[in-house]
């Protein structure tokens, strides 16, 4: 797997898109830091961008990379190498290079602004960690969708739909649910509802760390009350890791039985 990972990495780290993605975050972080010297506020603004853009790009990139490397995968499949290693190597390569772009794009401006000497360092770190986790989650989902759909247009459409659902529509339905069942105790519903959506979960994770109750909303408040801050963060991170594990395991099992 490491061999595949190495060469997928070579390929992607030279890709134009990796650089465009990286410079996008460089520019956004630099301009936000330029506009406000309050690192905490910048982290919150960046959070909103990261929560929307990282899943979108990871989804598109994952689907695109798989469809583009279709014939190459066939070449690899004819080599003496385990199937699961090819796909997991590719997956980690894609998610890894997106994560590196993100870490450089956000990390360098904050380094310049001296984040290491600031009390905001841990808030910043949690932003990076969620960004990386989201890259891994959504590229796994994207790869899985691409693996299951031979038709590129269907694959792209479905991947975008999943992103749209988790990033936008889900919140709307969730909110409606909360309003409709206003008269009932909703704590458990709110916890389950936010665990099921990695983007919501990431938002709660960052806000729990930032400890800004005003921005936290109902779910965040329930989470904090339920878990207490430390345990809440640990729970959120483990659920996010499960969000990586399940699609990655599916990639492995789908790839075992797929015909090329």
């Amino acid at each position: 797997m490491l061999k595949i990972l190495k060469y997928v990495g070579y390929d992607l780290l030279r890709s134009r898109w990796t650089y465009i993605y990286c410079s996008f975050f460089l520019m956004i972080s630099l301009s936000l830091l330029f506009l406000s010297s309050d690192l905490s506020k910048v982290v919150i603004s960046l959070m909103n961008i990261v929560l929307l853009i990282v899943p979108l790009i990871a989804t598109m990139f994952g689907v695109m990379y798989y469809y583009n490397s279709r014939e190459f995968i066939e070449l690899l499949l004819a080599q003496p190498i385990k199937r699961s290693n090819i796909f997991l190597g590719q997956y980690i390569g894609i998610a890894g290079s997106l994560s590196i772009s993100l870490i450089i794009g956000i990390g360098v401006p904050f380094l310049i602004y001296g984040v290491f000497n600031s009390p905001e360092i841990w808030n910043f770190m949690i932003l990076l960690v969620t960004g990386v986790l989201l890259s891994f989650i959504f590229s796994a989902i994207a790869l899985l969708i691409a693996l299951k759909n031979e038709n590129r247009i269907k694959g792209f459409g479905l991947a975008i739909l999943v992103w749209l659902f988790l990033a936008v529509i889900y919140d709307g339905i969730f909110l409606l649910g909360l309003i409709w069942f206003n008269d009932y105790p909703l704590d458990n519903f709110a916890i389950i509802g936010s665990i099921l959506n990695p983007i919501d979960l990431s938002r709660i994770l960052i806000l729990l760390k930032l400890d800004i109750s005003a921005l936290m909303g109902f779910t965040g408040a329930v989470f904090q009350k339920f878990f207490g801050t430390g345990l809440g963060i640990a729970a959120a991170i483990s659920v996010l890791i499960a969000w990586i594990g399940i699609p990655a395991w599916r990639i492995k099992s789908v790839s075992q039985t797929k015909d090329f």
């Binding site: 060469y7 190459f72 499949l77």
Partner: protein, 255 residues
């Protein structure tokens, strides 16, 4: 070396292989022929483990290949379409395959033969189709495996490269390898093949030497013999309305 027993494969409702029984044991060149959609590529992909059969076994050197991957060390494969990661350099692609397979290789020879030196440091995305096919051939031939599988090797090659490829294939044959080639080009079969396997709608309709094919169908050329197999089939289907099994029986006794 390879024995295939009752191999079945369906993609959804479309049955592509319907109980193939065939052995590839004799060294030499075997041409796998058949019209589009007859199951040639599927058969080859089953041997390579890229397509997973619904039923039947493929035994390679006394070992069932199901779920295995080490056996592919014994196979060199030239895929039909050459497409590689755009941002990798030719050199890196070669070292990747070397990394995966390990052991002795002679890529240098083919790099020289196809004049690939100037391209070694170029990205694969910048190469022309012809050069890509040469890289593809280098990848397929750089290891000395006992089984060589070529899927439509002549596609997209210029006449000079084609002549060279034929020479290379004959060289590999001289080493005593088993070589499987799928192709549409009958003159290529005539010139190169020792044996022919003819597939039609997922069944094998002829298996034997090139000479046998010609004598059985009283033809001077492979093309004519193949046309006769196809005609015979159409005739039975259209005028007599026999079932498919009848058609098979009519053709099978010739084998």
């Amino acid at each position: 070396m390879i024995s295939i027993n009752k191999l079945h494969k369906a993609f959804g409702k479309n049955k592509v292989l319907k109980g193939i029984d065939v052995n590839f044991n004799e060294p030499g060149i075997t041409a796998v022929l058949g019209p589009n959609g007859s199951g040639k590529t599927t058969l080859i992909k089953c041997i390579l483990g890229m397509v997973i059969p619904n039923d039947g076994t493929i035994i390679l050197d006394d070992k069932n290949i199901k779920g295995e991957w080490e056996y592919r060390n014994k196979i060199d494969y030239l895929p039909q379409i050459a497409r590689f990661p755009e941002n990798l350099k030719v050199k890196e692609l070669l070292s990747m395959i070397k990394d995966i397979r390990g052991g002795e290789e002679n890529s240098e020879r083919y790099i020289k033969l196809f004049n690939l030196e100037p391209f070694l440091n170029q990205r694969l995305g910048n190469l022309s189709g012809g050069t890509l096919q040469k890289v593809n051939i280098t990848l397929a031939l750089m290891y000395d495996s006992p089984l060589l599988i070529l899927d439509e090797p002549t596609t997209g090659l210029d006449p000079l490269a084609l002549v060279r490829l034929k020479k290379l294939i004959l060289e590999e044959k001289a080493k005593g390898k088993i070589i499987l080639i799928t192709t549409h080009i009958m003159s290529f079969v005539e010139e190169m093949a020792d044996n022919v396997v003819f597939l039609l709608e997922g069944n094998i309709h002829f298996e034997g030497s090139l000479q046998q094919l010609k004598t059985n169908y009283k033809s001077e050329k492979v093309e004519e013999a193949i046309a006769k197999i196809l005609e015979g089939k159409n005739y039975n289907f259209s005028s007599n309305g026999h079932s498919k099994r009848d058609v098979e029986l009519k053709i099978q006794p010739n084998i």
